[in-house]
C-alpha cells in the first residue's frame, strides 16, 4: 500500500500546509520565543504527576542524532516512572526524520537539532502545539589527539594548508560554521564539506583531517579521540533544539509527558551534563 501512497500523499500535505501553515506559524512565532521555559514547565510537571498511574502504551520518539545519548537516558527514566510505557527511539539527521514523518512515519514526538527542520513539520501542519526549545549547542574546534597541524586558535584552522573539515552549509552545523567564521572575520577553505557532524568527526578521529568544526556535545561524546579547542568568539552562533508532539499521535498524553520530562529540571540536568546549553 505504501508504494501507491508515496506519490499522492505529499501533495495532499502540501495543500494542507497552505491552509494551516500560516496560522500555525504565526502562533508559533509569537508564543515560542520569550516564554519558552516558564509556561510549559509549570503545568506540564503537574500533568506528569497526575497521569503517572494511568499512562500506558508505546511512545515513538524521533530525535536528532546528536541527542542519542541524552534521549536514551531520558527514555529509560520515563519508562522507570511509567512502568506500562515503552519508549521507542529513532535517531537520524533532523531532515531525514522530518521527511519520514511527513511521509507518514508513526512518530509521536519530534526533537529537532535546529528550528529550520521543525519549521518544516509545522508547515506541513504536523506539529500538535507550538514547538518548545529545550536545549542549545555551540560549535567547537576539534583536532586529532596529536594535533598534527599545531592548531591552538580558530584562526589557525583557517590557514592555508590546514586540512579543515566542516559540515556543508545546507546542514545546521555547516550553517553555524559559516556564521561563526564570519563572526571571527575568517574565510574558511575546507578540504571537505561533509553531510553530517558524524562524518566530520570521523575524518578527524581517523587522523585524515587536521581539524574539524563540530558541536561541543559531539566533542564530549568522542572523549579522548579528539582534542577540543574552544572558538572563543564574542558572539557564538547558538543552535537551538526544539521539540514538539506530532499532531497525528494516538498517545497525546504520553507525548506531552515525555516533552515535560525533557523540559523540566530533571531533563535539563541530563542535557547539561552532556554539554548542551540552556535553551
Amino acid at each position: 500500500m505504501t508504494l501507491f501512497n508515496t506519490s499522492t500523499r505529499p501533495r495532499r500535505l502540501r495543500l494542507g500546509a497552505v491552509a494551516a501553515g500560516a496560522a500555525v506559524l504565526a502562533l508559533g512565532l509569537s508564543g515560542c520565543g520569550p516564554a519558552a521555559t516558564s509556561p510549559s514547565a509549570g503545568p506540564d510537571s503537574n500533568a506528569t504527576e497526575n497521569a503517572t498511574a494511568e499512562l500506558s502504551g508505546t511512545l515513538n520518539v524521533y530525535a536528532a542524532a546528536s541527542l542519542k545519548q541524552t534521549f536514551t537516558e531520558l527514555a529509560h527514566e520515563f519508562e522507570a516512572k511509567n512502568p506500562h510505557v515503552k519508549v521507542s527511539l529513532s535517531f537520524d539527521g533532523s531532515s531525514t526524520l522530518v521527511t519520514q514523518i511527513t511521509q507518514g512515519a508513526p512518530a509521536d514526538v519530534f526533537a529537532s537539532a535546529d528550528s529550520a527542520n521543525m519549521k518544516k513539520l509545522s508547515n506541513a501542519g504536523l506539529a500538535k502545539d507550538s514547538p518548545v526549545d529545550f536545549a542549545s549547542n555551540v560549535l567547537t574546534l576539534v583536532v586529532p589527539p596529536g594535533n598534527p597541524a599545531n592548531i591552538t586558535t580558530f584562526a589557525d584552522a583557517a590557514k592555508p594548508g590546514v586540512k579543515l573539515v566542516v559540515c556543508a552549509p545546507q546542514v545546521p552545523c555547516g550553517a553555524a560554521a559559516q556564521a561563526d567564521a564570519a563572526g571571527a572575520g575568517l574565510t574558511l577553505s575546507p578540504v571537505s564539506e561533509e553531510l553530517s557532524v558524524t562524518s566530520v568527526l570521523g575524518k578527524v578521529t581517523s587522523g585524515e583531517a587536521d581539524a574539524g568544526l563540530v558541536y561541543v556535545t559531539d566533542a564530549i561524546t568522542e572523549g579522548d579521540k579528539v582534542r577540543s579547542i574552544p572558538l572563543t568568539l564574542a558572539n557564538t552562533t547558538i543552535n537551538r533544539y526544539p521539540i514538539a508532539a506530532v499532531s497525528t499521535t494516538k498517545v497525546p498524553e504520553l507525548a506531552q509527558g515525555f516533552i515535560a520530562l525533557v523540559t523540566d529540571s530533571e531533563g535539563q540536568k541530563v542535557l547539561k551534563n552532556a554539554g548542551f546549553g540552556a535553551p
Binding site: L3, F4, T6, S7, P10, G93, S95, T99, K163, V165, A168, Q170, V171, P190, V191, S192, E193, E194, L195, S199, G202, K203, S206, G207, E208, A209
Partner: protein
C-alpha cells in the same frame, strides 16, 4: 557483389525466425510474479518522476553545484571504469583460465566489495590509503595525499565496481571456453597474440556489459566515497552526495537531480546494450556490414 547479398539475406532470415512462435516452457503464473517484480522496481521510479517539478527542472539541474556534481560524477565514473577494465581483465583471465593455489579464496575476496556495505569499503580504504593508513603513511611522506582528492573518489568507485566487471567477464570467459585459444596456439600464435586477437574479441560483449555495470555502479557510489573521499563541490562531491545534501534544504532539487542521475544511467545502459546479444554471430566484419 553477390557474396555480399547472401549474408544479408541470411541474417534477415535469422531475424524473422527469432520472431516466429517457439515453445518456451514458461508457466503462465511466472508472468504474473515477474510482473510484480518488475513493478516493484518501476513503481518507486514512477513515484519519483511524479514528484519532479518539471517547470523548474531546467533551472534545478543546471545550478552551479548540480552541474559540478554531474560533471564530476561522469568524469570519475569514466576513469574508474577504465581502471576496472585495466585491472579487471587480468583478474578475470586468471580466475577463469589459470590454475593456482588459493584461486578460490582469491575469487571470494575479490567479490567481497559486493557483499560488504560501501561504508565499510570506505573505511577499509581509509585505513589503507588514508594519512594514517597502512600505505597512506608512506605515501604522505613522499608528498602524495589521497584523501579529500578526486583520486580518492575514483579509488572508492573502482573498489566497489571492480567485482562487477570481474564477475561478468569471468562468466563470459568460462562460457567461451579455451578451444579457440588452443587452435590459435597451434597456428603459431603466442599467448599475447591469442589474447589480443582471439580471446578479447570473443569476450568483448561480456567485457562491455561488465564495464557498463561497473560504470553504473560508479555513478551510484555513495557510502565509500563519503567515508574515504569527503564532500567538496567540484572535487569530491559526486551526484549521489549532492542529492543527499540538497535533500536537506531543497527536496525539489534533490528529486530533479535523482531523475537526472537515473536518466543518465538508463541512457548509458540502453546505448551500450545495443550491442547485439549473440556476440559470436554479430561481430560482423567491415565487409559484411551494411
Amino acid at each position: 557483389m553477390p557474396v555480399l547479398v547472401l549474408p544479408k539475406s541470411n541474417r534477415q532470415a535469422a531475424r524473422v525466425q527469432g520472431r516466429t512462435w517457439q515453445y518456451t516452457g514458461v508457466p503462465k503464473w511466472i508472468y504474473l510474479v515477474a510482473a510484480v517484480g518488475a513493478l516493484f522496481i518501476l513503481l518507486p521510479l514512477t513515484g519519483m518522476v511524479a514528484q519532479v517539478n518539471w517547470g523548474q527542472f531546467g533551472a534545478l539541474v543546471t545550478s552551479e553545484s548540480s552541474l559540478a556534481a554531474l560533471v564530476l560524477s561522469l568524469k570519475t565514473a569514466a576513469a574508474s571504469t577504465a581502471l576496472c577494465i585495466v585491472f579487471g581483465v587480468p583478474l578475470a583471465l586468471l580466475l577463469a583460465r589459470a590454475q593456482f593455489l588459493g584461486q578460490r579464496i582469491l575469487r571470494a575476496l575479490i567479490l567481497l566489495p559486493l557483499i560488504v556495505p560501501p561504508v565499510v569499503g570506505g573505511l577499509a580504504l581509509l585505513y589503507t590509503f588514508g594519512r594514517q593508513g597502512l600505505i597512506g603513511k608512506s605515501l604522505t611522506l613522499v608528498g602524495i595525499d589521497i584523501a579529500f582528492s578526486t583520486t580518492a573518489v575514483i579509488m572508492a568507485q573502482t573498489f566497489v565496481a571492480l567485482p562487477f566487471l570481474v564477475l561478468s567477464l569471468e562468466g563470459t570467459l568460462r562460457t567461451a571456453g579455451q578451444k579457440y585459444e588452443a587452435v590459435a596456439a597451434t597456428l603459431g600464435a603466442r599467448p599475447g597474440t591469442v589474447l589480443r586477437r582471439i580471446t578479447l574479441p570473443l569476450v568483448l560483449p561480456g567485457l562491455i556489459s561488465g564495464a557498463v555495470l561497473s560504470f553504473a555502479r560508479c555513478l551510484g557510489e555513495f557510502g565509500a566515497t563519503l567515508t574515504f573521499a569527503g564532500s567538496l563541490q567540484g572535487v569530491t562531491r559526486t551526484m549521489p552526495l549532492e542529492i543527499y545534501l540538497q535533500r536537506e534544504t531543497d527536496p525539489e532539487a534533490a528529486v530533479a537531480l535523482s531523475f537526472l542521475l537515473i536518466a543518465v544511467a538508463v541512457l548509458v545502459v540502453a546505448l551500450t546494450y545495443r550491442v547485439p546479444k549473440s556476440p559470436l554471430r554479430a561481430l560482423v566484419s567491415p565487409e559484411a556490414t551494411p
